[in-house]
Amino acid sequence: MSTFLTLLRRDCALLLLGGRRGGALLPVLFFLAVAMLYPFAVGPDAPLLAKTGGGVIWVAALLAAILPLDRLIEPDLELGLFDQFALRGISEEGVVAVRMLAHWLSFGPPLMLAALPASALVGIDGEQLRLIEWGLLAGTPGLAALGVLVAAITAGLRGGAALGGMLVIPLAVPLLVFGAGSLSVGGEAGLALTAAVSLVLLALTPFAAGAAIRSGRG
């Protein structure tokens, strides 16, 4: 338990807002920038903006989640931390699970907060806004897991960050379909499916990422 807390404290110090590995503010700013640009691009058609804005917010959230990929696993691999963890009997799976939690904390709640001004920018409020917030709560853990998984797979590859982005996008499509889809359908069914996809990714990622880190060792 104290091992878990020690790892989490370090990961949070590195990844959270104000963290030393930097760039934790970047996803939020990117997210807000997209929401701000969209009305400029589409024009001042309030009904159209309100109808399509939810989907844009989801796309922005997905893309914002890609930004921190290259600082999730690769730096620690280069520093030799994973080797030292292995020597101490701390499993890669455990380290990855903690990293997922810290990564989610670093962009999930901030995006949910940023979704409030973003919704205002595209003219969404009331029921739609509620669905967006619940959807982000259900979907961002899945995005965090996916990010860590892809970061582990591409760590050490040349151009790994760019490749990572290309790998996340197709794998995140189910989250986007159910999360953004719940806006047009309404109701909780879409949210439940988004949460289900998230749970699958959360359960899968520690093992897949752990195996990727082990097999990349050499």
Partner: protein
């Protein structure tokens, strides 16, 4: 501290398509030291990583049994570069639940506030040693521990290794520099050439026969 050392049998190492060494048996008792020598590329680091459990030897051979825990030190510090040295070491101290580190002895006591990335090569090595000592492992695997260290630092490492052996630990060192390891076994991995199949030793020759010298790649004969 503990009884038992290292028993390893039939280790064969492959990197990519190339077999580096094969059929290596090791038996080290508590207090023993092993000095790995040999030119670059003979597999010293690979052997250390295999012994540390970080690389897998080629199946079906490769039976490695340690009694006790292992510490591993190579060129990578595993310390956060942006943090002051004491904060970076605190992370491992918390994980290892280690007592206060002998920073003064390692010559690091005045560097506690300096970010790790500003340390010199030798100071980084000393910081790595501090992490290794803090781990409190029974046995040590050291990859080029003398790189970048001054003569005082080298003497310090020799003293630390001697203490570890007195405490009943096994120390395996890969080093190009001469290192005073009284009573240490010396192992040259060139004495354990892999067979083309990767199993056993000796290119199909007698075990005692030297392998045929490999021609060095030169520009001659291309015309």
């Amino acid at each position: 501290m503990q009884a038992g050392g290292l028993k390893a049998q039939g280790i064969t190492c492959r990197r990519g398509d190339r077999f580096l060494f094969g059929g290596l048996d090791l038996r080290l008792e508590p207090g023993d030291a092993l000095h790995l020598v040999g030119p670059n590329g003979t597999g010293k680091t690979s052997l250390l990583r295999i012994l540390a459990g970080l690389l897998r030897p080629v199946a079906p051979s490769g039976d490695i049994a340690w009694q006790g825990s292992c510490g591993y030190l190579d060129g990578r510090l595993a310390l956060d570069e942006h943090l002051p040295l004491d904060k970076a070491l605190d992370f491992w101290r918390a994980l290892d639940r280690s007592p206060p580190l002998p920073l003064e002895r390692l010559g690091l006591d005045r560097l506690a506030d300096i970010p790790v990335r500003f340390l010199s090569t030798g100071q980084r090595k000393r910081a790595g040693l501090a992490r290794l000592i803090g781990q409190g492992a029974d046995h040590w695997l050291l990859d080029e521990p003398l790189n970048g260290l001054d003569s005082e630092g080298a003497a310090l490492i020799e003293a630390l290794i001697a203490e570890k052996r007195t405490a009943g630990g096994v120390v395996v060192v890969a080093s190009h520099q001469p290192l005073a390891l009284p009573g240490a076994q010396v192992l040259d991995l060139r004495d354990f050439p892999p067979s083309p199949s990767g199993k056993g030793r000796g290119w199909g020759l007698d075990a005692d026969t030297e392998p045929p010298p490999q021609p060095l790649p030169t520009g001659e004969g291309l015309s």
